[in-house]
C-alpha cells in the first residue's frame, strides 16, 4: 500500500502549498517551473502520473488559469495542477512530451481561449472555422451578432 498522494506531494514539492478542489488535491505551479514539475510528476516512483485526464482553462479576468487533471494508473491517485497566466502574456509550455493526450486538449484550449502552447507541433483552430476571429470562451468575447456577421461575410444569406 503506497502512501497517500498528499504526503508524497508535500515531500517532493516542499515549496508548494497543497490545497484541495472538490475531492481532488490541487497544487499551483508557476509557468516557468511547469516543465520541471511535470518531469517529476511523471517519473517519480511515488507519483507516476501517467495519464492526463483533462486539460482545460478558466477565464478569471484579468488572469487565466490552465488546469491539468492528472491520474496515476499504477497508484490510482489523482491530482489537479493549476497554472495562472496573465491576460497580457498568454503563453505556456506544451506538455505533449509528457502526455500525448495533451495534443488535442491544447488545441481546444487554444481555439477557445487563445492561449499559445509553445512547443506544440501543430497549433491550429480545432472547432472554429479557420478564418475565425477571436476566442469564444473568453469573458471579454461578445457573442451577439457574430453568427450573422459570419454568414454575411461568406455570402450565405439568402435575403
Amino acid at each position: 500500500m503506497s502512501q497517500p498522494v498528499e504526503e508524497a506531494i508535500k515531500k517532493i514539492f516542499p515549496e508548494l502549498t497543497l490545497t484541495s478542489w472538490a475531492q481532488f488535491p490541487a497544487i499551483e505551479i508557476s509557468r516557468d517551473s511547469l516543465l520541471s514539475a511535470c518531469e517529476k510528476l511523471t517519473t517519480h516512483p511515488d507519483l507516476r502520473f501517467d495519464m492526463l485526464v483533462c486539460l482545460t482553462a478558466v477565464d478569471r479576468t484579468p488572469r487565466l488559469e490552465v488546469l491539468y487533471h492528472l491520474r496515476s494508473t499504477t497508484h490510482g491517485h489523482e491530482l489537479i495542477v493549476k497554472t495562472e497566466l496573465d491576460e497580457s502574456q498568454l503563453e505556456i509550455p506544451s506538455v505533449v512530451s509528457f502526455w500525448k493526450a495533451a495534443e488535442l486538449f491544447e488545441l481546444e484550449v487554444y481555439d477557445m481561449f487563445g492561449i499559445t502552447f509553445t512547443g506544440h507541433s501543430d497549433l491550429r483552430r480545432l472547432f472554429m472555422p479557420d478564418d475565425w476571429d477571436g476566442y469564444p470562451l473568453r469573458k471579454s468575447y461578445k457573442a451577439s451578432e457574430v453568427a450573422d456577421n459570419y454568414l454575411k461575410s461568406h455570402q450565405l444569406l439568402i435575403n
Binding site: 469564444p136 457573442a143 453568427a147 450573422d148 454568414l151 461568406h154 450565405l156 439568402i158
Partner: protein, 179 residues
C-alpha cells in the same frame, strides 16, 4: 369502343377502361398529374447533424415506416434527392455544407426544417457564437416542424403537409430563391 369510367381515390383524374380491363384513356391535368407523381415519391437526402436525426431514423424504421407515404428511397447523394430534411443543429461551420448540398439538388427541391434549432436556433438562440439562428436565413424552407426533437409522428405529419403543399402548387413554375 365501350369504355367504363373508373375512379381511384389516390389518382387525380378520370380513368376509362375498356372491357378487357386495360386503361385506355386517362383524363387529367398536367399540374395535378405531375404533382401527384412528385408528392408520392419524394426522395429524402440522408442528412442528420444531431439528435433530430435519431428521430428521423426512427421515422424511417419499421415502427413508424415512412415508406407508407412514399419516402423510402433515402439517398446518400444530393444529385438524386429532391427533399432535404434538415435534422439537427446547423452550426456556422456546417452552414456552407448545407448550402452546397441544397444547391447540388436538382429542381424541384424541398426543404423541411425539423426541430427548434433549425427554426430559430432553439436553445442556442441567444448569445451563441456558433449556431445559425434559423436555417431559413441560408436556404428557403417549405415546412417547419417544431419540437426538441419532434417525435416521428410529428415528422410524418410535416412530410404529409409537404405533400399537400406540393399538390396545391403549379407543377412547372419553380420559384427560385432570391439571390
Amino acid at each position: 369502343m365501350d369504355v367504363i369510367q373508373k375512379q381511384f381515390d389516390d389518382f387525380p383524374g378520370e380513368v376509362y377502361q375498356d372491357k378487357s380491363g386495360h386503361s385506355s384513356i386517362i383524363i387529367t391535368q398536367i399540374d395535378r398529374f405531375a404533382n401527384w407523381a412528385r408528392s408520392n415519391s419524394l426522395w429524402p437526402l440522408i442528412f442528420g447533424t444531431s439528435c433530430c436525426a435519431i428521430e428521423m431514423m426512427s421515422a424511417a424504421s419499421a415502427k413508424y415506416d415512412w415508406s407508407r407515404f412514399g419516402f423510402e428511397v433515402a439517398r446518400a447523394s444530393p444529385r438524386q434527392a429532391d427533399l432535404i430534411i434538415v435534422a439537427g443543429t446547423i452550426t456556422l461551420k456546417m452552414a456552407p455544407v448545407l448550402k452546397r448540398l441544397y444547391d447540388q439538388m436538382p429542381e424541384p427541391k424541398y426543404v423541411i426544417a425539423m426541430g427548434a434549432c433549425n427554426i430559430t436556433g432553439g436553445p442556442f438562440m441567444l448569445h451563441s457564437y456558433s449556431v445559425v439562428n434559423g436555417i431559413d436565413k441560408i436556404v428557403p424552407v417549405d415546412v417547419y416542424i417544431p419540437g426538441c426533437p419532434p417525435r416521428p409522428e410529428a415528422l410524418l405529419h410535416g412530410m404529409i403537409k409537404l405533400q399537400e403543399k406540393i399538390k396545391n402548387t403549379k407543377a412547372y413554375v419553380i420559384e427560385k430563391p432570391k439571390k
